[in-house]
């Protein structure tokens, strides 16, 4: 199926590999494979991997990609897997200049995978791991039936965004239980004893009653103890540990969760990663690789990649521009107290201390940041103005999205909001024993934007399928706090 690279591409690869090394990019071994459009759509539909567990959603994605290609709406240029060795795919029939561009771009990605700290906890043998997952789920399907397993996977996938993106970096010492000042309360928790003379005691405080009281107090204390002790962000983990699942269900949930964590950093660093790769393809292509005859085609495709439509941020564009801005600022010394406190705009513009630290700085940035901290640390007024960034909002009166503001602080705030938690709502497990009936209470940490109602209900139903007891969600609609519950039969909603 996969074809060997033709001689000219092998030559191009060697050239780009050498260039990347000289520029200081540090990558896993990169293996390029040549595939036709059908195969590239196939691999893309499977999230970049040649083998995934069986699921209809991959088929849907494939259908969509194939139609998109057939109608000329879209085309996949590059596809690269975070794995050691790193696999990347080239499409047959692309012009040689495109193939070179893709190779250079992929070297950027691969360097990013290897060095960015948010990727440091990802499994670098994911290619094998995905194949293992596939085998296990296929076995379950053979044993338990396709529908049953697939329905369960559907439920798991429905909550695959409800994980804690920072948890891979938190070292939890689960072994040491949290013991606090509850010990003293314990003493008071024995039943009240009336004063009585010794021989009257068993009549005033009958032992059977005392025993019953002791048990009641103990069970009350049990009820009052919070579970989970802290609200839990990783709802998948919580369900994995506490939902009454069968072994195969536990296994599948854990597979879906593992894959969600594997893909999380890619969503967390979309702007940085694409920006970094674009920075490098542009640098390598324009400084070394391009032949005169290829310049026009290169420029055409490069601008196609970086073009942005109004109302949309192109991560490639925003990323590359911000890296370039950082590079320039650190080359010229446009940072630090002295620069920030300078009031003379003209002087600021001409500022150049000839530090030449730009390259080193962006290498450092690509190591330490994710999109949120990247934007937070480096997007400043000059940049927002120069890039013509704006915020937009929906105008109910005209029914249109309209430009709202060009104030850079608002732009930054909005951008950060859309990137925090990948622009996903934050949902926590508040109580695993809600109403003292083993029900599950989830809380939406409302930050000004309501949840989409219908999808929310469907998701709640899916969580119910896992938890099996009634599930409730605390959220706000139109600033009114609401409790939405699903008990397996109907949705109930009340103000809370």
């Amino acid at each position: 199926m996969r074809q060997q690279l033709p001689a000219e591409l092998i030559k191009a690869h060697a050239e780009i590999r050498e260039l990347a090394r000289n520029y200081g990019l540090e990558t896993f071994d990169l293996i390029f494979e040549l595939v036709d459009y059908n195969e590239i759509n196939e691999i893309a539909a499977l999230g970049g991997f040649p083998t995934r567990y069986p699921h209809w959603r991959f088929g849907m994605e494939f259908d969509y990609l194939n139609k998109g290609y057939a109608w000329g709406l879209q085309k996949i240029y590059e596809l690269v897997i975070n794995n050691d060795p790193c696999y990347a795919y080239l499409q047959t029939g692309n012009m040689i200049v495109d193939q070179k561009l893709v190779m250079a771009h992929v070297y950027g990605h691969c360097d990013f995978f290897k060095n960015n700290m948010w990727f440091s906890k990802t499994n670098r043998k994911m290619l094998d791991e995905m194949a293992n997952h596939a085998t296990r789920i296929r076995e379950y399907q053979d044993r338990l039936g396709v529908d049953r397993v697939e329905n369960f996977i559907d439920a798991c996938l429905s909550i695959d965004n409800l994980i804690d993106f920072y948890s891979p970096f938190v070292q939890k010492s689960d072994k040491r239980p949290m013991v606090g000042y509850q010990e003293e309360e314990r003493d008071e928790a024995s039943p009240h004893r009336f004063e009585a003379k010794g021989y009257m005691d068993k009549y005033v405080n009958p032992p059977s009653f005392m025993e019953a009281q002791r048990r009641k107090i103990a069970s009350d204390a049990e009820k009052n103890r919070k579970f989970p002790a802290q609200p839990e962000r990783d709802i998948m983990k919580f369900l994995l540990e506490f939902a009454p699942l069968e072994q195969w269900q536990r296994e599948i949930l854990s597979i879906v969760r593992e894959e969600a964590y594997y893909f999380a950093p890619q969503a967390q660093t979309k702007i940085m990663n694409e920006g970094w790769a674009s920075y490098w393809h542009s640098t390598m292509m324009t400084q070394h690789v391009l032949k005169d005859s290829e310049v026009i085609d290169y420029a055409d495709h490069h601008s196609g990649t970086l073009g942005s439509r109004p109302g949309q941020i192109n991560p490639y564009k925003l990323g590359i521009e911000l890296y370039r801005d950082i590079e320039e600022r650190w080359n010229k010394g446009k940072f630090g107290k002295e620069y920030d406190e300078c009031d003379d705009q003209d002087e600021k513009r001409r500022w150049d201390k000839k530090l030449g630290q730009g390259r080193a700085k962006i290498f450092e940035v690509r190591k330490l940041h994710n999109d949120v901290t990247f934007i937070d640390s480096f997007l400043n007024e000059e940049f927002a103005e120069q890039q013509k960034l704006f915020t937009y909002g929906f105008n109910r009166r005209t029914g249109m999205y309209e430009i709202a503001d060009r104030d850079w602080r608002k732009v930054k705030e909005q951008l950060l909001f859309s990137l925090t938690n990948f622009g996903q709502p934050i949902i926590l497990v508040e109580d695993g024993n809600f109403e003292n009936r083993g029900e599950l209470l989830l809380r939406h940490q409302h930050e000004g934007t309501d949840l989409e109602y219908d999808k929310g209900i469907e998701t709640l139903k899916n969580i119910h399928a896992l938890w099996t007891r009634p599930v409730s969600l605390l959220t706000k609609y139109n600033t009114q706090l609401k409790l939405i519950s699903f008990d397996g039969k109907e949705i109930k909603e009340r103000d809370a």
Partner: protein, 366 residues
């Protein structure tokens, strides 16, 4: 064994088909897919299949963009306004192409229709062109690029002019290869459907919509049963004439109703073009049942008994209810042809009745 994406794709299509089947009853009576009909397929809108997630409602979020424009400049159309957060308007739909053959199959399963036993088997030959081979002469429009390339490659390898480092292939005239076709003839059962419709003043748009929907499904089913099918259209009020499909559905006359005129014309068409021994003939008549006179009804019964019923596989009469109520004609037919299997009558009061009426028309397997 099918593996990888093909299996997933198949599974996806299965799920989609499942959705269509679930909703087929609704599709049948609403006829919303008829406007989306291509040559061999219809595109059916079904609700987007999705894995639900907790996510933000679109409206309130807004975002960040890049480009020119002062505050207030519109940058894109929002979706239709909704009253209250919570009800989701504008749910995205996907359109799925389903071939008419598959659709007929689903219809057959849904209505439990028996397959039709055609009569007069194999008396008509049909011919088709098939590509059957490769030749080294032919018109440019039939040039086989891949074979040509291979020939050129072979030649260049032999001539040692092929350089793997610079794999450029230039075909000469003698490398060119062309497709050759053959004429294949095959005996087939042929069928014709003759639709007749009352277009007198009492038949309104709603009634015509019912006829249109009903005939779409009849077409779809019969097409799946025969290789080739011809369709003729007759409209009538006090007089009948043959028309094309568009006219059939869009004509409105104001005159009275003489049903026999249509039956007579139908009989003429059959006699002229479709000898009953060789053709499977289906006649479908839709009316609101208000024939002008009892005498004309008598004519109709005569034509049916002596001509149409012996010649056709089945004669269907569908009576739609107009705003003036339902007429007498269906009763007259039933009285006169109690024992006649080839005559099928059906009352179609409203759109919901289409489902049942299709079953009555097609359930005989004739």
């Amino acid at each position: 064994m099918i593996t990888g994406i093909k299996r997933d794709h198949l599974r996806f299509k299965q799920i989609v088909k499942g959705k269509i089947k679930q909703n087929l009853k609704r599709f049948i009576s609403q006829g919303e897919m008829i406007g989306r009909r291509g040559k061999d397929f219809v595109s059916i809108p079904i609700p987007h299949i999705d894995l639900p997630h907790f996510r933000f409602g679109k409206r309130q979020t807004g975002g960040v963009g890049q480009g020119e424009g002062a505050p207030g400049t519109p940058i894109g159309q929002g979706e239709a306004e909704e009253g209250q957060a919570g009800n989701s308007e504008g749910e995205h739909q996907i359109e799925v192409d389903v071939s008419l053959k598959e659709l007929a199959e689903m219809l057959g399963q849904e209505l439990e229709l028996p397959r039709i036993q055609p009569k007069g088997s194999g008396t008509i030959n049909s011919s088709k062109y098939r590509y059957s081979g490769i030749n080294n002469v032919g018109p440019d429009s039939l040039r086989h690029v891949k074979r040509t390339y291979k020939e050129a490659l072979k030649r260049q390898l032999m001539e040692a002019t092929y350089n793997p480092e610079d794999p450029v292939i230039i075909p000469y005239k003698k490398d060119f290869r062309y497709r050759v076709w053959k004429n294949v003839t095959k005996p087939e059962n042929n069928a014709v459907i003759i639709y007749m419709m009352d277009v007198s003043g009492s038949m309104g748009d709603e009634q015509k919509e019912i006829v249109r929907t009903e005939s779409f499904w009849i077409d779809t089913w019969l097409r799946s049963q025969y290789n080739d099918i011809q369709i003729r259209y007759i409209i009538h009020d006090a007089a009948a004439r043959e028309v094309d499909q568009h006219t059939f559905y869009h004509t409105r006359e104001s005159g009275g109703t003489l049903i026999s005129s249509a039956y007579r014309l139908c009989n003429e068409i059959i006699d002229k073009n479709y000898p009953a021994s060789e053709w499977n003939i289906y006649a479908m008549h839709f009316s609101d049942g208000d024939n002008w006179s009892g005498e004309d009804t008598k004519f109709c019964v005569d034509i049916l008994r002596n001509d149409l019923l012996p010649k056709t596989n089945q004669f269907c009469y569908g009576q739609v209810e107009s705003r003036y109520g339902s007429g007498q004609f269906i009763k007259d037919l039933l009285e006169n042809f109690k024992e006649e299997e080839r005559l099928v009558t059906s009352k179609i009061e409203n759109k919901e009745a289409i489902y049942r009426s299709l079953k009555e028309f097609l359930g005989k397997g004739r």
